[in-house]
Every structure is written in structure tokens, then in C-alpha cells.
């Protein structure tokens, strides 16, 4: 750990070592019990709740001097939140940063999983606003913990039932609940359900941090992650008629972009690195 290139007066990665050890213990427990929400003594971070304080504490607890960090927000490396968090860790750790998914050893994300398949030596850290998947139907924390304990998960399907009754199909498209390792029902944070299949049997370690609610949970590599569904309404991911206006991709998650005041719009890849990489490849071919 070289102290030369970090901002003076701060510990490496902002948090003190005691706090990091406490968070690492919570992380170990979370990895040992996939999908189980482990309470931890969340600290104040120099930014408001809702901006990723949970993910940042997890990142701060595990980042090392030779890590290469990537930060994305809604798939993009260049949005304010992503740029700020990346700058924060560069200032306070001096680690290398990247926008390229395959170069990163540690990726902190808000609301997306990169399109490029992750590898065994990568860790994905999610920022989580509401960790409790049962919260929508059960306001009591005591009761939801009991429900997890007893695998009392019938209510989870109520939400999906209500979707079908109301819209004719399962309309839930973000934060789509999953069952991890055949045991705990888990909220995958507000990623689009398009990304849900990427969690299943992923070679990478996936860690989730909720700052306001002070919970940590995890999916170890190669773990079963199943999206809840009905036999006659199986889980499906979003599909688009359009392709990316920049790279022409038909397989990635697309954002709709308004182009002018006349209702003109285009679809482009939400994962900026994926889109750029495809363009570069096409350039080489051309």
C-alpha cells in the first residue's frame, strides 16, 4: 500500500481498518450463506444515502492497492455518480481505474450488470437501496426475518400474481426477485430483469451493500440464482424491436434516448463500454 499517491490525512480507502475488518466479517458470513442479509455497522460516508454508500463501504473494505476499479451507473462509466465514486477511490487508494469490463478486478455498479460475461477473478459490488424483497408486503422487520427463517415465501408470488391479474403478464421489470441457492429469496437491487440470468452460475463473486438499511448480502461464484415465476407465465427478459443506434447491437440492454423536441428517439446500449468495444471491433474489421 503506497501512501504516496493518496490524499493526505486519510486512511487507505477512507474507512479505518477496524471498520473494514468488521465489514469483511459480515461479507464472509454473507458469502457463507448465499442470499442471506447480514446486518453490519454501517458508517457515514462523505455523501448522502441513496448515492451508493452501501456499495462504497463494501468496495472500501475489499479494495487492495493492486486492484483495478471500474464504476458504472445505469451501465455507463461517464455519469456523475460513476465519475465521482471512481475519483473518490482513486484519490483515497491510488489504485488503477478502468472503463473496460474485462480489465477490472473490482466493479462497483448501480442498477446494471455489464454485458460482457464476468470472469472468476472479478468481484461485482452492487449498490442496494432496499435489501428486503418482502418489504413491499410486510412492513415489520421482525416478521420478514421470521419469514426468511421459515422459508415462508408464498407472499412473493402474490406480487407476480397481481402483475398478471392487472397487466396480463409479469410486469415487474426491475428488482425482480430471485431465489438464491434454492434457499433465500433475494432482491437483486434495481437491475433490470434483463440482467437476472447473468447472476445465475456467474464465475464472479457478487456482493451487495445497502448503506441506509445497513445490510450486506452475497452470491458466491457458481451459485444457482432463479427468478421467481409461474409455470404458465415463465420468467422472460426484455426484448427490443430496435437495435442500438450506435453499434447496432440486438443483444444488449437498450436505453431510449430522446433526440429532439418533435418526439424523435433512438435506442442505444446502456452499457457504454460494451457499445464502445463493439464499435472498435467493427472499426478493425472495416
Amino acid at each position: 500500500m503506497s501512501a504516496d499517491n493518496i490524499r493526505a490525512g486519510y486512511n487507505f480507502a477512507y474507512l479505518d481498518e477496524q471498520t473494514k475488518r468488521m465489514i469483511r466479517r459480515a461479507l464472509l458470513k454473507a458469502v457463507a450463506i448465499p442470499g442471506y442479509q447480514v446486518p453490519f455497522g454501517g458508517r457515514e460516508m462523505p455523501m448522502p444515502y441513496g448515492w451508493g454508500t452501501g456499495g462504497m463501504q463494501v468496495t472500501a473494505a475489499i479494495i487492495g492497492a493492486d486492484d483495478c476499479l471500474k464504476v458504472i451507473d445505469q451501465g455507463a462509466d461517464d455519469t456523475t455518480n460513476a465519475v465521482s465514486i471512481r475519483a473518490f477511490f482513486r484519490d483515497l487508494t491510488g489504485v488503477a481505474t478502468t472503463e473496460r469490463t474485462e480489465e477490472a478486478s473490482l466493479i462497483q455498479t448501480r442498477h446494471r450488470i455489464p454485458e460482457k460475461a464476468l470472469k472468476e477473478d472479478q468481484i461485482l459490488v452492487y449498490q442496494v437501496p432496499i435489501p428486503e424483497p418482502l418489504r413491499f408486503i410486510e412492513p415489520s422487520e421482525v416478521e420478514t426475518r421470521k419469514m426468511h427463517e421459515l422459508e415462508d415465501y408464498g407472499v412473493m408470488h402474490i406480487k407476480l400474481y397481481e402483475d398478471i391479474a392487472q397487466f396480463g403478464h409479469i410486469a415487474t421489470s426491475y428488482a425482480y426477485p430471485v431465489r438464491v441457492n434454492g434457499r433465500y429469496v433475494m432482491d437483486p437491487s434495481p437491475i433490470p430483469k434483463f440482467d437476472n440470468p447473468k447472476m445465475h452460475q456467474s464465475p464472479a463473486l457478487q456482493l451487495f451493500g445497502a448503506g441506509r438499511e445497513k445490510r450486506i448480502y452475497a452470491i458466491p461464484p457458481y451459485t444457482d440464482v432463479r427468478s421467481l415465476d409461474f409455470e404458465d407465465h415463465p420468467f422472460e427478459v426484455q426484448r427490443w424491436e430496435a437495435s442500438c443506434a450506435i453499434c447496432g447491437s440486438r443483444d444488449s440492454f437498450l436505453d431510449e434516448v430522446i433526440m429532439d423536441d418533435k418526439g424523435g428517439h433512438e435506442f442505444i446500449c446502456s452499457d457504454t463500454d460494451y457499445c464502445r468495444t463493439r464499435m472498435a471491433e467493427q472499426g478493425e474489421i472495416a
Binding site: 408486503i137 421470521k146 427463517e149 421459515l150 422459508e151 415462508d152 415465501y153 408464498g154 407472499v155 408470488h157 402474490i158 400474481y161 397481481e162 398478471i164 391479474a165 392487472q166 415465476d229 409461474f230 409455470e231 404458465d232 407465465h233
Partner: protein, 258 residues
């Protein structure tokens, strides 16, 4: 006697203070039998019902239940998860206030389907069909299936609660003043519905009520409670027509008959 008792209650005691709660209650409940527990407010009826339905551990005494497989289970020797499993499969619990027994934030159909989903039903079409059948069975308009119970009248909420409980074909249903707080005409309809379902489905029922007319209509047998103690038991018509205990006589003579 051919059948074995479904529920064996022995010396069940749960006291919050002297005379508050229930003390030394014993009885057997047989399959298909409707047992009424009567007494005025504060007599310990509801405390007893909570003990019987594995929601409140008694201080003393035992409660044994014979499940569908014929195993005799010590209720409070069971893990909490097995207690809950019983509560949502072989048992039903109908609360006095529908909002204690319903999920007010989700539709009527989802309320009926919840127990089925909790026990592994994963076919939307089947859930829907079952919910519609039960709506009809409890005389609810099927067009209201996707409406939330908050938009239902009190009587409709209570009927929804009953459907939600009966959907798993329970063998034993606990009811706490199921018709309390409803208008008289609505009450009559509900009671008639309960009477019909109890007969058709061969349910065993423990029903707590302070209303002797309700007890007479639904229960074959009565337990009269006062200040936590059982003061009289017997066939419903015998207890009401020829009450022996001073308190029962007072209860019976206090009823206004139009």
C-alpha cells in the same frame, strides 16, 4: 366412539393476571364437530383461542392435534415452521376484524391464492380458477376479483377472509367473533354461509362468540367461560335451554328476543 379426537386440550392455562386469561381448560374436539366458546368480553375466550391455534404458548397444560396423516402432534412441541405450516394448510383462522386476517394491499384474488402459493402452487391459471370458484362459493361477485379488499364492504371482507382460509380445505377452523361488528342482515347471511360450508366441508370448528344466537345456529356443543374459568359445558341446546350455572342463566336471560 369410532373417531379419534382431532384436538385434545388438557388443563390449558394462560394467565396475564388473576382472572385475566384462561385457566385449566380441558376438552376434546372431534372431526366435523363445531364447538362454541361463549362468555362476555374479557372472559378469556380469545386468549384460549390463541392458545388452541398455536399463536400463544400456554403457561401450563397441553394441546395435542391429530394431523391428516394420523400423527398425534404436541402443538407447543412443534417447531415454529411446522406450526405455521399447520396454520396455513390444515387449519384456518378467521379473525373478528377482517383486516387482521386479510392482506389489505393486494387484490381479493391474491388474498385467496396466497395459501396455495405458500404451499407451492405455481400455475397462475389454476390459481385464478380456484380463486374464482371460491369467490362464487362465498357469494362474492367474481368481477371484484382484482379489487383490493379496502374497496369491499365489511360483510364482503369477512366472506373473503373465509374463502382465503378454506381454500386449502382445512380440517379445523378457529373463528373469533366472525360476525361481530356487522349489520344484522349482513350477519345473518354470513352465518348462513358459514353453516352451509361447515356442513358441506365437514369442518371441525372452534368458534368464539359472545352472541348466543350465533352459538345456537352454528355450534353443537358449548363451553361457557367466565373470568378465565370454564363454568359450564354441554350440548348447545341443553346449555341454552336448561342452563345450570348462575352465570349461564344470567347470560341466557340477558338476551333480548324480538
Amino acid at each position: 366412539m369410532t373417531a379419534k379426537p382431532l384436538l385434545q386440550v388438557r388443563d390449558v392455562t394462560k394467565l396475564y393476571a388473576a382472572g385475566k386469561g384462561c385457566a385449566n381448560v380441558s376438552f376434546d374436539l372431534y372431526p366435523g364437530e363445531v364447538l362454541g366458546i361463549v362468555g362476555e368480553s374479557g372472559s378469556g375466550k380469545s386468549t384460549l383461542l390463541s392458545c388452541l391455534s398455536a399463536r400463544l404458548a400456554p403457561d401450563q397444560g397441553s394441546i395435542h392435534y391429530v394431523n391428516a396423516e394420523g400423527e398425534q402432534l404436541d402443538l407447543y412441541g412443534l417447531s415454529e415452521s411446522r406450526q405455521r405450516l399447520l396454520q396455513r394448510t390444515e387449519w384456518g383462522i378467521v379473525h373478528q376484524h377482517a383486516r387482521d386476517g386479510l392482506r389489505m394491499g393486494v387484490s381479493g384474488g391474491a388474498n385467496i391464492g396466497e395459501r396455495l402459493m405458500a404451499t407451492g402452487e405455481r400455475h397462475y391459471g389454476d390459481l385464478r380458477a380456484t380463486a374464482e370458484r371460491w369467490m362464487a362459493d362465498v357469494e362474492l361477485d367474481i368481477d371484484r376479483i382484482d379489487d383490493k379488499p379496502t374497496t369491499y364492504s365489511g360483510g364482503m371482507q369477512q366472506r373473503l377472509q373465509i374463502a382465503r382460509n378454506l381454500v386449502t380445505h382445512p380440517r379445523l377452523v378457529f373463528m373469533d367473533e366472525p360476525a361481530g361488528g356487522l349489520d344484522v342482515s349482513v350477519q345473518a347471511r354470513l352465518l348462513d354461509l358459514l353453516r352451509r360450508l361447515v356442513t358441506e366441508l365437514g369442518l371441525a370448528v372452534v368458534i368464539v362468540t359472545h352472541d348466543l344466537a350465533v352459538a345456537r345456529l352454528l355450534a353443537q356443543r358449548l363451553i361457557v367461560m367466565r373470568r378465565g374459568q370454564v363454568v359450564e359445558t354441554g350440548l348447545t341446546d341443553q346449555v341454552l335451554d336448561d342452563p345450570q350455572h348462575a352465570y349461564t342463566q344470567l347470560l341466557v336471560s340477558s338476551v333480548l328476543t324480538p
